[in-house]
Amino acid sequence: MTVAGRVTRLREEFDRSFAEPARVLECETVELLAVGAGDRPYALRLTEASGVHPDRPVTPLPTSIRALLGVAGFAGAVIPVYDLAALLGHPVPRRPRWLLLAKGTPPLALAFHELDRHLRVPLADVVDGADPRGCLRGMVRLPDGHRPIVDVPAVRELVHRLAGYRSVPEEAR
């Protein structure tokens, strides 16, 4: 295609994008991150995260909590980093590369090894189901196999228990 042809096509697409009404998705979807933690595939709900960051230096802490990797800096704030694989009960072969900031308070980052891809799947492909260990909730059916979905609030609960954290009423702070 000539350059002029491409320019024309891009221009038409640009104009059309304004002319067309906003598209409505026919079915409800869920946005997920396909990740690898401790060499196992998992999915995380995007709505339960407030950010994903690669290769952030983590300062190790002397601690008795095995899953607590240390603390990392995010825009001037110091945030504890927990190893997702360790929290899910897998031995940890390598230091994870990715950090996911979990929604909620107090601040918490979960570290995982691989970020495979971002997914938008129809709600029908998500199978609900409780997990005996309590940190997973349901599975997502994907062409390359099923992935358990990590229940980030439940993981947060586990971290709170490990750290002996009890929430303080707002007025007492």
Partner: protein, 686 residues
């Protein structure tokens, strides 16, 4: 005012500052006297008078004038102002302060206030920290910014040099391409010259960037510390409270303050100063005896009330001391009995129990209620502040010698100077005020110190621990260059030393508490953010002291320690088993031996162990598997495991960590003391 321009905008700021100076100056005069404070006060009052006239604040100008009139007779003479004059100065000071405060409350000038209406004296329940108090800090910050900007010049010059060198390189490349105007020899020497120039330009760049980095660190630390207020900002109001109470009681009382430079968040200082205003008043009214009584007790006629502020690790301690009569314990006992606060049937409470009652409120330390104190409010206020700020209060009293109230609160943000140290690849920071000395260690000194756990310092032997062992307690210590220096630190129980690889200079920093979910060993006191935005650990001297003392709380001797559970040694080599047993037994541990992983698993399920010490390469299940299986067994998962192996590679260490081992000791660098250090720290005690 129709234009919306506020003519008092600048006056308000200036007046506030001048009033602060007058307030402090009057109190100085009250305690010291002499020509210097008088001259200073006159200058300040005169400035205020002039400024007030310019903006037509007649009331302030008139009072400043009256203030000058009172002072003028004392100019240049070494006679302290008479009591009446002093009282008049204080009154005028209050009136001026009230008028200035009024201007701040109502930005528009007052419309219909009677000019002769006396202003109410300010009753500071809580000290409002003057925003102008940060002026000096702002100046320092600006200096630091200026300094950093100045570092740009070499970089700019460097850019020009680089451009020149770039052109030279292009010319050379052209010459080489066309082969004209150059011989191989001249081209080579031109290239060498160019390389040399580039090298030195590069070095200058590196230096300039390093320097800039340091300056920027400084700027950031200063900017951060602006969020904090010096404790000294609350002393003026306290001095004034002491002065007023003493005046009302007809006593002579000197106020002393220490720790003005300790900085903390204004949200802490405000409530504390409010409570301490009550305490100092109480001390004057009920603590300090009347002059004749003091003289007959052999005390100086003038009483002393002292307020001390001190930073202690991640806490701030505020103390109010007086040299008065102490609490009347008998009267307290009677009051407590009358109010039914003592449990029936119990004997009379001891002194500590009584003071505890005072602290819990309900009874006052004062025999009578007066205008300024005696309603138990002082103690209530301190208690309330302690509860609000998650602090602790301690009260003590020596009859006839004085009383002491101490409030200790945790600090959220803390400005300090830190000594940065590198250890096993990690930089951490020690509060410089706890550091007594730094000693360079040769490799041999370092080994001796690590083996004996002691270092000779100042004619004595201080306990010694390599910092890496404290920082990586329970996990494998990364490879490092080895200990090259010892930092001698003062802890609660005396001096101790930590071994670090390298000292990395000092820096100003703001320390903040560890985040809620980051539960760390007590070795870490707080955390700061370095220039790259990454967290850096700030070590806690007391936590380190406890770790150096072997993880036992300071003061607990070995006899007090609980006996460790036996240790299970797993190794297929008889020699190693015996060697390890002799090391462990001579260190006082009970030892069981297993020759294989299978045997060890069986034994581990049959007896409670305090630690597993296992080889990796064994026939049957290897050490990694043994550790993994014990971690998977809820009954054994809590028993720490140490891997000992001839494999020293990073991959094996990582695998050991992954399996769940708490430490990894390479046989090649087998070091009894290091092994025992790990064991002492990890072993489970019954």
């Amino acid at each position: 005012m129709a234009e919306g321009k506020d003519p008092l905008r600048y006056f308000r700021i200036e007046a506030r500052e001048l009033v602060d100076q007058i307030s402090a100056g009057v109190l100085d005069l009250d305690q010291g006297g002499g020509p210097e404070p008088v001259a200073r006060l006159l200058r300040v009052a005169h400035t205020l008078k002039g400024a007030a006239r310019v903006v037509r604040q007649k009331e302030i100008a008139d009072r400043a004038h009256a203030f000058e009139e009172v002072l003028i007779p004392y100019r240049g003479v070494d006679v302290p102002p008479a009591a009446d004059a002093m009282r008049e100065l204080l009154r005028l000071n209050d009136e001026i302060a009230a008028r200035v405060a009024e201007l701040e409350d109502r930005p528009k000038p007052p419309v219909a206030s009677g000019p002769d209406e006396p202003a109410p004296a300010p009753a500071p329940a809580e000290v409002v920290v003057n925003p102008r108090a940060v002026t000096a800090d702002l100046d320092e910050l600006l200096d630091a910014v200026g300094e950093t900007t100045a570092r740009m010049a070499p970089l700019r010059a460097g850019c020009a040099t680089l451009e020149r060198l770039h052109r030279a390189a292009e010319t050379l490349a052209d010459q080489l391409r066309t082969g004209r105007g150059t011989t191989p020899a001249t081209a080579r020497s031109a290239a060498e010259r160019l390389a040399g120039k580039l090298g030195s330009a590069g070095r200058r760049f590196t230096d300039a960037v390093d320097q800039m980095q340091r300056e920027l660190d400084e700027v950031r630390a200063r900017a951060e510390s602006l969020r904090l207020v010096p404790a000294g900002s609350m002393f003026t109001a306290m001095r004034r409270a002491v002065r007023d109470a003493a005046d009302a009681e007809g006593k002579r009382v000197r106020f002393e303050a220490r720790g003005a430079g300790v900085r903390m968040g204004a949200h802490l200082l405000g409530p504390v100063s409010g409570a301490f205003l009550h305490l100092v008043r109480n001390a004057v009214v009920h603590g300090i005896e009347p002059e004749p009584q003091r003289l007959s007790a052999g005390k100086p006629a003038e009483g002393t009330v002292t307020v001390e502020v001190e930073r202690r690790g991640r806490h701030a301690a505020f103390r109010c001391l007086d040299d008065g009569r102490g609490f009347d314990l008998d009267a307290l006992r009677d009051t407590a009995r009358d109010r039914g606060l003592l449990p029936s049937g119990a004997g009379p409470p001891d002194d500590a129990g009584l003071l505890d009652l005072v602290l819990r409120g309900g009874i006052s330390t004062s025999p009578s209620v007066t205008e300024v104190a005696g309603r138990g409010i002082g103690m209530d206020a301190v208690r309330e502040v302690a509860a609000r700020l998650h602090g602790d209060v301690r009260v003590s009293s020596t009859p006839g010698a004085g009383a002491r109230v101490e409030l200790v609160i945790p600090l959220a943000l803390l400005s300090m100077t830190g000594l940065n140290v590198e250890s096993a690849g990690m930089t951490s920071t020690l509060p410089l005020d706890a550091v007594r000395a730094c000693v360079r260690l040769s490799a041999q000194d370092a080994t001796t110190a690590a083996v004996t756990g002691r270092i000779v310092y100042d004619g004595g032997a201080a306990p010694f621990l390599p910092l890496a062992e404290a920082l990586y307690a329970g996990t494998p210590v990364p490879e490092s260059t080895g200990v090259g220096a010892a930092v001698v630190v003062k802890g609660e129980a005396g001096l101790f030393a930590i071994g670090v690889d390298r000292l990395a200079g000092t820096s100003a920093l703001v320390a903040r508490p560890l985040p809620d979910l980051a539960r760390a060993s007590p070795v870490v006191g707080s955390v700061t953010v370095d220039a790259e935005g990454n967290p850096r650990l700030v070590l806690d001297p007391d936590g380190l002291a406890a770790e150096v003392a072997g993880g036992r709380p300071a003061g607990a001797g070995p006899a007090a320690a609980v006996a460790p559970l036996p240790i299970l040694v797993v190794d297929d080599s008889l020699t190693t088993r015996m060697l390890e047993r002799s090391i462990l037994e001579s260190a006082g541990y009970e030892v069981d031996l297993a020759a294989s992983g299978e045997e060890a698993l069986e034994m581990a399920r049959a007896r409670r162990y305090g630690l597993f010490l296992t080889d990796i390469d064994m026939p049957g299940i290897d050490g990694f598997t043994f550790v993994e299986r014990t971690r998977a067994d809820p009954r054994l998962a809590g028993v720490p495991a140490i891997l000992v192996s001839s494999r020293a590679g990073a991959a094996d260490r990582e695998r050991g960590r992954a399996a769940g081992a708490d430490a990894y000791v390479a046989k090649g660098e087998f070091d009894q003391e290091r092994l025992l250090g790990h064991i002492r720290r990890l072993v489970v005690r019954s």
